[in-house]
Amino acid sequence: MTGRQSLRLAQTIALRLLGVAVILAIISFLTFALMYLAPGDLVKNLLGNRPSTPEAIAAIRAQYHLDDPFMVQYWDWLRGVLHGDLGESIRMQQPVSQVLADRSSVTIILIVLSFVIAVVTSIPLGILSATRRGSALDRFASAVTLTGLSAPSFALAIVGIYLFAMLLPIFPAYGAGSGFGDQLYHLLLPSIVLAAGIGAILMRMTRAAVIRELDGDAITFARARGLPQSLVQQIALRGALIPIVTSAGLILTFIIGGTIIVETVFALPGIGQLLEESVLFKDLPTVQALTLLVAAAIGIVTVIVDLSYLLFDPRVRARELSR
């Protein structure tokens, strides 16, 4: 890569990251507004179903600045974040950064595991299905993915517990375990359940992309030149790589939504369950931090996917870096 190309690359990355930052700012405002408008009452959540005096209610409202105008409340929060202070979780009575640190590991392992499971099973299956269109294997794979696509993840989770924790007691029924090895073992079944839905999407996308390439002119020409089948397939796969990577990036963002359900069913102390509870409790600092975290993760995945095009496709590389 020449110096000029490196500079272009650095500029491209910087521009993308700036875009992510702008989106985060917009999302933070929208989330804040939605939470402000959502039903529920923080004071009632704190006081519970108990009698309370008007003075105590007023004191709590003052403590959490609930009577300040909306923009003032948002500005207070934003000022804190810009100073690196995410605030304190109202429900947990702990710094939000602490709560996030406690909760992240389970969800990160869950996401990575399910993503890996989905990728290593779906992409080869998609490629096989594409190269053997109409065969028994292709039909079988379609049937399996149809199940994965149509069964909701909470149903799959419960069936998973019934089959693999009770009928065949291979996995634990619930919980996250303690220690890294035990945690992996506990998170395997939830990861498989989470991978089922997204893997199905990835498999269909892969299959469609490979079929399109196989039907393309380049492949017909390659075959006409008498190139061996393995080489022909390589060419087709290379062409299909971009749509496959794009859909892999997309499903990574789907996983994050899926964790809420899977964590609840398997009783896992992760980010998904925390987000749901914090929204219900109206624990604003926690919801804001979680939303930003998830949005940032999605933003960064998108940037990485975009940059991967430079690597995979010489045409994109030439267009982006040689101007």
């Binding site: 039909r139 199940t147 924790a165």
Partner: protein, 547 residues
């Protein structure tokens, strides 16, 4: 998202198998069997257990929800009390019959109606081995009464005027006015969880979190707390009452009821609190286990926000009260796991002045709105909305049985032209609707922890009540009843309060609840009563085998 393009190539058999598979999974997940009219049989009486005297390494308790904080002053849900009751103590406690007994206080005297002098135990220690001082006790009481430090408990100590250390092992609490129900507030089930001043200050009052945990005087200390996962209690040898038999109690938070059931069927759970009534049969089917049901001092009824039209009209409230078929709801929907309520206060809360049966008779003498659609129709005809109206009714997602009752009441009301739109909402959202001036019709679902007869009715009829019912006589009756030293006379006064509520149709009582608890037969529990899970129950567990 791409859709499968080759479904037509699927063999018919594969398609059928697939459909069955998916349908079965949906049915498994989404269906809870509709309640039938069969009475659930609770077979606890059929199981005779023998205490083997052995030590137990671990008891796992499944809870239907998570805790966010272990200090009941911060979070005061019923599950919080269930967990903390074996870890922290107040000055007094309750035995299985509901009688007040000493906890950190060995005795107490009341030199006058507004003074309580507590003689503290000399042998009480915190779980770190430090002795409990009168200063620690007074400090804990002060913090429990502070609305900012303890939003969950301060209200019960509104009547406290002062607390002071008056001797080396003596603490004196003074109240603003006489209050016969005040003493129970000095228990862990009331408002006092004694902790160490040094511990509180070291954490700047941020106690009960996953980092600070909690310091108490009970037989179990908290060694680990992971919100949304578990709380671990380990026994200590510092408790004045001795060393319990169970070494470790682990509370697992399992919010999904199907997962909870699977865990119990797998043998991972020894005790499960709040077994869902629709799932009772599956729980009963688990081998070597039993289900125990006991009246749990909880109350379910309707509230009417009188700031919302047309519920300011007594005839509307009466029409709805007559439309509630309490007996059918309890028999068919709750499968007998509850009692039709004739008042707000539970019969058990009248003990020891009255036995539960005598209490039921007494409460039955109050004005009743027995199910009668003709009377309901007549009341509506006499109201400001003779042709009916439309209203909303929400119930919390944690109370599916309340949802069933809501549907039944809505069906009855439809026949007289009142349309009720029933919807399930998250419990937090339901809490926000109580007395919010927007929702006229609502449910009250209240777990009394103190078991004091005035706890629920003074909340629902007295000052700051969620019905927005304003009648100065209510406050007068409450003050007068508080001043009574004779329990029976006090209950006579509280009956007046109940009568006021019934005459004005302020509340519509529906049922008094029963808690349904699953036990593995390997574990027994002594003196099981309505108070068990809000008192020192960890020390009452024993290793058991079926006789």
């Amino acid at each position: 998202m791409s859709t499968p393009t080759r479904v037509k190539h699927l063999t018919k058999r594969a398609l059928i198998a697939l459909t069955i598979g998916v349908t079965a999974s949906m049915a498994l997940a989404a269906c809870t069997p509709a309640p039938t009219a069969t009475q659930a049989t609770i077979d606890s009486s059929n199981v005779a257990l023998e205490n083997t005297g052995a030590e137990v390494d671990q008891v796992t308790v499944a809870l239907p929800g998570s805790l966010s904080n272990l200090y009941p002053g911060i979070e005061d849900g019923i599950l919080n009390y269930n967990v903390i009751a074996s870890v922290q103590e107040g000055l007094v406690g309750r035995d299985a019959s509901g009688k007040m007994v000493g906890a950190l206080a060995t005795s107490w005297t009341t030199p006058d109606a507004t003074t309580y002098v507590f003689e503290l135990r000399k042998d009480a220690k915190f779980q770190n081995g430090d002795p409990v001082t009168a200063d620690d006790v007074a400090f804990s009481i002060k913090e429990a009464a502070d609305a900012k430090a303890s939003p969950g408990t301060y209200y019960y100590l509104q009547n406290m005027a002062s607390v002071a250390v008056t001797g080396p092992e003596e603490v004196t609490v003074k109240t603003k006015h006489a209050d016969a129900g005040f003493l129970v507030n000095m228990s862990i089930a009331g408002a006092i969880a004694v902790t160490q001043k040094k511990f509180w200050q070291a954490h700047n009052g941020k106690i009960g979190t996953s980092q600070s945990l909690i310091m108490g005087t009970g037989p179990y200390k908290v060694t680990e707390f992971v919100p949304d996962s578990h709380v671990t209690l380990e026994r200590v040898d510092t408790w004045w009452g001795g060393v319990p038999k169970v070494k470790k109690i682990v509370f697992q938070f399992i919010p999904d009821q199907n997962t909870r059931l699977a865990a119990a069927q797998k043998g991972d759970v020894d005790i499960a609190l709040n077994v869902p009534i629709p799932q009772l049969k599956q729980w009963q089917g688990i081998s070597n286990s039993r289900i125990e049901a006991v009246n749990d001092l909880s109350y379910v009824g309707m509230i009417f926000d009188q700031k919302v039209k047309p519920f300011d009209d007594i005839n509307v409230r009466k029409a709805i009260s007559y439309s509630i078929d309490r007996n059918a709801i309890v028999k068919n929907l709750l499968r007998g796991l509850g009692q039709p309520a004739s008042a707000i206060m539970t019969p058990e809360s009248l003990e020891p002045a009255y036995s539960a049966d005598a209490a039921k008779k007494l409460l039955g003498t109050l004005p009743q709105y027995d199910f009668d659609m003709a009377k309901a129709k007549a009341a509506l005809a006499a109201s400001s909305v003779p042709n009916g109206f439309t209203t909303e009714l929400t119930y919390p997602n944690t109370g599916p049985q309340i949802g069933l009752a809501a549907q039944a009441i809505a069906e009855s009301l439809k026949t007289i032209g009142v349309t009720v739109k029933v919807s399930e909402v998250p419990i937090e959202q339901w809490l926000a609707t109580i007395g919010d001036g927007k929702h006229g019709l609502g449910f009250m679902w209240y777990f009394s922890t103190t078991g004091d007869p005035s706890e629920i009715n003074s909340y629902l009829v007295g000052p700051d009540n969620p019905n927005n019912f304003t009648d100065p006589t209510a406050a007068d009756i409450i003050t007068k009843s508080s001043a009574q030293t004779d329990p029976k006379t006090r209950i006579d006064d509280l009956m007046q309060l109940e009568k006021l509520s019934a005459d004005n149709a302020v509340n519509a009582p529906i049922w008094w609840g029963k808690s349904v608890t699953y036990f593995s037969n390997k574990i027994g529990i002594d003196a099981y009563s309505p108070y068990t899970f809000v008192t020192m129950w960890g020390s009452q567990l024993f290793a058991a085998k079926v006789k």
